[in-house]
Assembly symmetry: C3
Homo-oligomer: 319 residues x 3
Amino acid sequence: MNNPQLDSNGQLKHLLSIEGLPRSILTRILDTAESFAGVSEREVKKVPLLRGKTVCNIFFENSTRTRTTFELAAKRLSADVVSLNVGTSSQAKGETILDTVDNLIAMHADMFVVRHSQSGAAHFIARHVDPQIHVINAGDGRHSHPTQGLLDVFTIRRYKPDMHNLRVAIVGDVLHSRVARSEIHALTTLGVPEVRVIAPKTLLPPEVQKLGVQVYHDMRKGLKDVDVIMMLRLQNERMTGALLPSPQEYFKCYGLTQEKLELARPNAIVMHPGPMNRGVEIESIVADGPQSVILPQVTYGIAVRMAVMSILAGNTEPA
Amino acid sequence: MNNPQLDSNGQLKHLLSIEGLPRSILTRILDTAESFAGVSEREVKKVPLLRGKTVCNIFFENSTRTRTTFELAAKRLSADVVSLNVGTSSQAKGETILDTVDNLIAMHADMFVVRHSQSGAAHFIARHVDPQIHVINAGDGRHSHPTQGLLDVFTIRRYKPDMHNLRVAIVGDVLHSRVARSEIHALTTLGVPEVRVIAPKTLLPPEVQKLGVQVYHDMRKGLKDVDVIMMLRLQNERMTGALLPSPQEYFKCYGLTQEKLELARPNAIVMHPGPMNRGVEIESIVADGPQSVILPQVTYGIAVRMAVMSILAGNTEPA
Amino acid sequence: MNNPQLDSNGQLKHLLSIEGLPRSILTRILDTAESFAGVSEREVKKVPLLRGKTVCNIFFENSTRTRTTFELAAKRLSADVVSLNVGTSSQAKGETILDTVDNLIAMHADMFVVRHSQSGAAHFIARHVDPQIHVINAGDGRHSHPTQGLLDVFTIRRYKPDMHNLRVAIVGDVLHSRVARSEIHALTTLGVPEVRVIAPKTLLPPEVQKLGVQVYHDMRKGLKDVDVIMMLRLQNERMTGALLPSPQEYFKCYGLTQEKLELARPNAIVMHPGPMNRGVEIESIVADGPQSVILPQVTYGIAVRMAVMSILAGNTEPA
């Protein structure tokens, strides 16, 4: 099958999903991100790798946090950034997505960062664009959010470099998560031997075992001896839905408390993609505690996005 | 009469409308745009002509597409760009337009790109500003949208350089169009011998013939042997109005189909200012077909806006 | 008492309010602003003092005018600027202010410009951030708006350099003003011997005399022989409130007319923080007249904000 993310030489052309990326590409992104992790700590946080390039954020769905991370990553690479909140403009005038994209291509955009509420939107755009243009999926429906998955794996690798010897638990709403699938693929590809998912049946996709994970419904059993705990965000709209009894009930069963954390390995790390619902998915004392790497995830998110953009643009040395 | 767009030496001071621009200025803008057309195709799409200058987009009426093209043009000239959606801010606090403008002048803005729903707003602001400040009309009511007119003429000149030997048809809602009048003036000034307008009587201004055009109500007759077909956008709000029977009916009479296109010269070009209503003004097979130059219009729009800004700022060499 | 704005060496770490700033710091800001006042008038209005730094505008409350001045100031210092309208994004997802701030810190923001409708918000954030990060209060509730206060004092010093010999009147809604308190402190600290407030009792805070001002309810008496008249903005929401009879009535008693202006010293200057309600706080002939320095206030606002940002970043020479 033709992989839409790779060019004929097997180089990364678009970043649409972690599924389908060979281990060599994953590793290259993580290694490149490593070299960028230092740039954001410098006095002058800029490198000229994308100078004179135009990065176009097309957000068909609003997400200030994600837009900001991509905007910062692009600016630190010295790109010009144009952000379009498309939901409120051209679409209202009856223009199709492809006409909007074609117009931006005609303006000589070099890279598109696409956020859309429908699965497959970024793939759809990537199939359509000219060969010199690169598309990054910044979240499409519940399908994929690959830079989030990559920054999670990058964070794990930074804190637990021996990935062949890890036990990782993913906790919460796997069914509606944009990132859980991506993470499972990335972890498996990078050689993590044991990935667990911990969730009520109503928040698990059917046949989730086929992804190569072990399923737990009891959080206490699932956290036993793990090295990494990845909490998933519970969307507000789920909380009042039929799938769950109440936020309080959810917290009781699947919220991460200090007491439950102690079932994991003593130096286990705690992750969350943000924004957190404190007291629903996670207790504040854990979120702010010594085992939490939630803020380093955000920091590494910039480095990972800089890495992806610079690889797509054909440059990877931060200089 | 004093021309508000020219200074005492006859140099361009503001771009408010194509009407009143002498042929020499029109030609200078087009020639300068020619030199910028290459910049957007470079690896590094930036020239330092407006470095350290502040370009202020004041949009009293929202238009993501137009704002984006001006923003990109200004950034590729290395200007700092500040965009204000004024409709939703100071105006709500009871401030007058001139107070808003005066404040931005006091902040040492160098150039204003103004979009307003009322005809004459850009002229009004241009009359008011200090002599060192330049105003570009980015669309005022149904009056004028000169950079759109200029990019259309630029596109025609690129594809049909011998303008003294052309037959151009403008099709659609001439009555409410911001650009039709501008284009007719530009084409006439540049020596195009035959400009036709094709529209139902209800969508033509009274005494349109006085602009020097030939009027057709039958599209098939009007398209006969033309070299250029400029389709106009049908505003959504017109479609349900009393002036038109229905979008389907409109398409039948004035929509551009492949079959109608074949009445024009074999190498005729097809233009549309966007955003398109596919199936209303134009058939998709024509919009995306080999004779369409709709996307090149967008590309040239950046070059033309860069040209206008750099001429106003007193620099024209892209370096 | 520990001053949250100063570091252990007495250097400016955050700008939260004018209260608590020693005279030496106030003077340093004003002197630095003096050196930046020229930068905005240059051909190239940029200095590289904040190159590679990230300035983050966090506006929990919308204010296009204030955001624009900070954005321009930061861009002219060559910083990268990211603006977040937080009211409409993360907060809606249930994230706390501190989580939002922590995320931006994790992205290696260097400076926060904070606007919030609640008093103390900027202080709250300043107490929380890492030591290398600087916070500027851009207006919190009715508490403080220190850069506005500073630019007002800067304007006065420019037009009336002998501050030890001045009589200043502050007119209007002192009770709800973000800036009146700041200005009174700044003026007193800089040695202005006589500060008057002129307002109806309902628009004065209790025990206003303790701030060291003279209170007048009769505008004609209060303006007698003053050198500086600082008009305050009347918030629209007050006009229909119970505290005031009507805008017309207010104008009659406390609006600045040419006739009342003539009671002040012949070369008195007239100031207003904007946006003005013409015909409510001030007559147009006065606002636009020869004694008005309302637009210079805006100009100096950029210089003062550049000065504050560059002092916080540890650089003060405009080069």
